[in-house]
């Protein structure tokens, strides 16, 4: 082991001291900074991932639409289902309607779906009733819409479609369609929960006079992450259709989440920077305190580079140990996040904010290796620089001055 590394280790961890003050406080400071950075990043990743998943589950991995309703969708469905990248393809139609129950009415965004679709994402978000109850006389409502109409599972609502206005124009008596609410869904997306009403596609097409045409197709892909490339490939030779990958469906929302993550990284970066500055100042005072030792080392023949290495290594070691501690703290905090959040909620009486505001059953997580690599590299860099500044100062002094000043 080079002498300067040996001495650096001994100066950081003097023999006989279990928790040397300088090393303990510095390593703890860096560890807390790194943990704060990574906990925030990992939870933000989790929120992002959860939202991305919900977007995909609510809207599909890829939506196929056209300027006009798609004629004879069966041919297109058959072709798309045969594509190796496509896991499933289902038709849908959608449109606004007036939903009414007694004196309460609201705009509903009605979506015609295949009730036999075993993989339909709405199944996952049913919290009352049953998806399989859906038939021509029943409807599945979003949680917010049901609340606005003051209905529960088993109640009945009227649905007035725009096609009924056409009937009135033709002098026919427009009669509303009556549906029994068979299930309620809660996805966490306000625009889905407050507006969505699911009815069988066949029934939708009757009410909207669509014949056998549909408004679009929902594709689920085997590799959702490659939705952009697959959509572009599927679009080739189908100029009248538009294949919209899920990343484009809620692009602004996803951008907002990404921006939020970047801003939080920036804030946490400043916290870690402050921690590193405190290491720099502490190391500086340690170097000044060791002025005589620096002078002696020069008298013994230590080169300028050796002294830089001696004190620079101490900063780097603090960074490395602090980062390791930060990783451990991150894991601990995230492993017990529900208990920590529960304690905070009970102390401040916020209720279950994650469930109420974000509609997540628990704080979502997503570990991203690159966050850990960036945090480790950044911390090591900053703490090493924090050690190098006083090291360069010490190395630049005349030994006679160093020995006289201490």
């Amino acid at each position: 082991m080079p002498w300067f590394l040996h001495l650096a280790l001994r100066q950081l961890f003097p023999p006989g001291k279990r928790f040397p003050a300088f090393a303990t406080v510095s390593i703890l400071g860096v560890g807390l900074g790194v943990a704060a950075l990574l906990v925030v990043q990992t939870v933000m990743n989790g929120f992002g991932e959860e939202h991305r998943l919900r977007i995909r589950e609510s809207f599909g991995d890829c939506v196929v639409v056209a300027r006009t309703p798609i004629e004879r969708p069966q041919d297109l469905l058959k072709a798309l289902r045969a594509d190796p990248a496509v896991a499933s393809a289902t038709p849908f139609s959608e449109g606004p309607a007036l939903a009414r129950q007694g004196d309460f009415s609201n705009v509903a965004y009605v979506r015609g779906i295949d009730p036999t679709d075993a993989g339909h994402p709405a199944r996952k978000y049913v919290f009352a009733g049953g998806f399989d109850e859906l038939d021509d006389g029943r409807v599945i409502l979003g949680f917010g819409l049901a609340r606005a109409l003051r209905v529960q599972v088993g109640d009945k609502i009227e649905v007035w479609s725009p096609a009924m206005a056409e009937r009135a124009e033709q002098g026919k008596a427009p009669l509303p369609a009556v549906f029994e609410v068979c299930a309620l869904v809660r996805t966490g997306f306000t625009e889905v929960d407050d507006r969505a009403a699911f009815i069988p596609l066949r029934r939708f097409n009757q009410l909207w006079s669509m014949g056998d045409r549909v408004h679009g197709l929902t594709l689920r892909l085997k590799e959702p992450a490659q939705a952009y490339e697959i959509a572009a490939r599927l679009n080739v030779g189908r100029p009248t259709l538009q294949f919209v990958p899920w990343q484009e469906i809620k692009k602004n929302f996803l951008e907002a989440i990404r921006f939020e993550k970047t801003m939080l990284f920036f804030l946490m970066f400043i916290i870690t920077l402050v921690a590193s500055f405190s290491i720099g100042s502490t190391l500086f005072s340690a170097v000044i305190r060791r002025s005589r030792e620096v002078g002696v080392l020069v008298a013994l023949g230590a080169r300028r580079l050796d002294l830089v290495a001696l004190f620079g290594l101490q900063g780097m070691l603090i960074g490395a140990l602090g980062t390791s501690l930060g990783f451990l703290l991150t894991w601990l905090i995230l492993a017990f996040r529900e208990q920590i959040l529960g304690t905070i909620n009970s102390l401040f009486g916020n209720g279950d904010m994650v469930a109420n505001v974000y509609q997540f059953s628990k704080v979502p997580l997503h570990y991203d290796a690159s966050d850990f690599v960036v945090a480790a590299a950044f911390t090591l860099l900053v703490t090493t620089i924090a050690g190098l500044v006083p090291a360069l100062w010490a190395a630049g002094r005349k030994p006679s001055e160093a020995m006289r000043d201490a």
Partner: protein, 223 residues
């Protein structure tokens, strides 16, 4: 009879420090030659420039004028400033040991810094020769002042310097311990044939060296 080998040579050394009243000349053209195996003492009042002279001789400071060279085996007389730690050993008044290293590690550190990492046996032998064979693993805080200075002497000798510069090595010790350390210092340098330049206030210790000098008003003259 062959001419004795010169191990330390200083010619025309001058040094002044800035003061509110203008430059304060501490050394005015100091000349000094030390031969192999010879012991030389320099006495002077406090502030007379003894430590400054020693630092210039050892290359720890830069002279305003003049030059200091010492013998580096195989290379002849070389500038002290550019060859720190190679041919000169230092013993300081305050021992200047690394507090986190034990006695053996302190001695070994000097060898490692000089590029001789495998000198553990030699370091141990040196410590045994200064009477610290049973205190090898003790930290400086666990040693007495006299023991610390013995470690410092062993450290100064580990790289087999041709000359040892000792700056008031008994200054922090009581009379009996100081006398013991001085006896040991003179003994080990004599045994190893190392020249000694001793800066001291003590006439008694100075009298034990081969040649005695006095530094006064920036001028070095025979006592």
């Amino acid at each position: 009879m062959p001419e004795p080998t010169i191990v330390l040579s200083a010619r025309g050394l001058q040094k002044s420090f800035a003061s509110p009243a203008g430059p304060l000349a501490v050394l005015r053209s100091v000349d000094l030659v030390v031969h192999a195996g010879e012991s030389v003492s320099i006495r002077g009042s406090s502030g007379s420039g003894k430590t400054t002279l020693l630092q210039l001789l050892g290359g720890l400071d830069v002279a305003d004028a003049g030059e200091a060279n010492f013998l580096l085996p195989g290379r002849g007389l070389v500038p002290a400033r550019k060859n720190l730690g190679k041919g000169v050993g230092f013993v300081f008044q305050n021992y200047q040991l690394m507090p986190e290293l034990n006695a053996l590690e302190n001695v070994l550190l000097a060898a490692q810094v000089a590029g001789r990492p495998a000198a553990a046996a030699e370091a141990q032998a040196l410590l045994e020769s200064v009477g610290l064979g049973s205190r090898l693993r003790h930290l400086p805080a666990q040693l007495s002042g006299g023991e610390c200075q013995r470690v410092a002497i062993a450290r100064a000798l580990i790289n087999r310097p041709s000359v040892l510069l000792a700056d008031e090595p008994t200054g922090n010790l009581d009379e009996a311990t100081g006398a013991e350390v001085m006896r040991l210092l003179l003994e080990v340098v004599a045994q190893r044939g190392t020249a000694l330049v001793l800066v001291t206030h003590s006439r008694e210790f100075a009298a034990r060296t081969d040649r005695q000098w006095v530094l006064s008003n920036g001028v070095l003259s025979p006592a």
